[in-house]
Amino acid sequence: MSQNHNILSAAESLIQEHFELEPNLENVIWINSDKTTEIRLLEINSMTFPAGAVLSFYFPPDEEFPYPTIMAEITPEEWQKVLRNEIPLPEGWTLENHKVYSREMATV
């Protein structure tokens, strides 16, 4: 099994789990999904508290999930501001090669 396939499978199972656990999660953006060494997720949650910035948190790999994961959670309004370049993404994050997951896609 290729490295790309492994990280794809791990990322998508993580995204599915988050949709199952969080009913207010609208979309998950897998940022720079071409990277094979870490998973960057931007979660759009209608019930999260706005911070006016994309604050990303690091989760180290462990025996259960072998990829470092960097996650941020923002409101739908903040996501629109990100798209309009009014709120910057974290350092090194771009919207090139991103994938958008909706609840319907993730739970198929």
Partner: protein
């Protein structure tokens, strides 16, 4: 150690001494405003100690005071916490969610977020034109922290996170 690791250590160390100061002001005859000031500072720096390991710019991290609630939201996904506390993912998520309103109250104590309202540092003017002083203000949050399950649980988590940060978050 990288620059980011140095920042992480620095935020964590400062969070710990802020927490120690909070404990001392809780036990002594200190005004409630000072208790809350140290609690707000400890919780913000705890959050930033984790935040600085991510990819957010140092400028965004140092300028924002809205870090603690995000920390609590994101921490609910932490697998190490699930194992350490023996909780299922759904249980942990639900428990952390129940703590968010009181975490938000703590976060809003930062004068920059208090929007000219109650905060533990600076006087403010209320809707009727009265000038209020933090030293004399009966913060309802103090009671909620001491007497509600959510308040007590949140304080317990902050203490655990500070004492076991390396084990749980690194």
């Amino acid at each position: 150690m990288t620059g980011r690791q140095n920042w992480q250590t620095a935020f964590l160390n400062q969070a710990k001494v802020d927490w120690d100061a909070y404990q001392k002001t809780r036990r002594g005859m200190w005004p409630e405003c000072h208790q809350l000031l140290f609690l707000q500072m400890a919780s913000e720096k705890l959050a930033k100690a984790l935040l600085v390991a991510g990819h957010s710019s140092l400028e965004a991290i140092t300028q924002s005071h809205a870090a603690f609630v995000k920390f609590m939201q994101i921490a609910s996904n932490n697998r190490k916490l699930q194992r350490a506390f023996g909780m299922k993912k759904s249980q942990q998520r639900a428990q952390f969610k129940s703590l968010l309103p009181i975490a938000y109250e703590i976060e809003l104590l930062a004068p920059a977020l208090a929007q000219r309202g109650p905060n533990p540092e600076y006087p403010w003017e209320d809707a009727t034109g009265n000038i209020l002083t933090p030293a004399n203000y009966p913060f309802p949050l103090v009671i909620r922290l001491r007497q509600t399950p959510q308040g007590l649980q949140l304080l317990k988590y902050i203490e655990i996170f500070l004492n076991r940060f390396e084990e749980l978050f690194m």
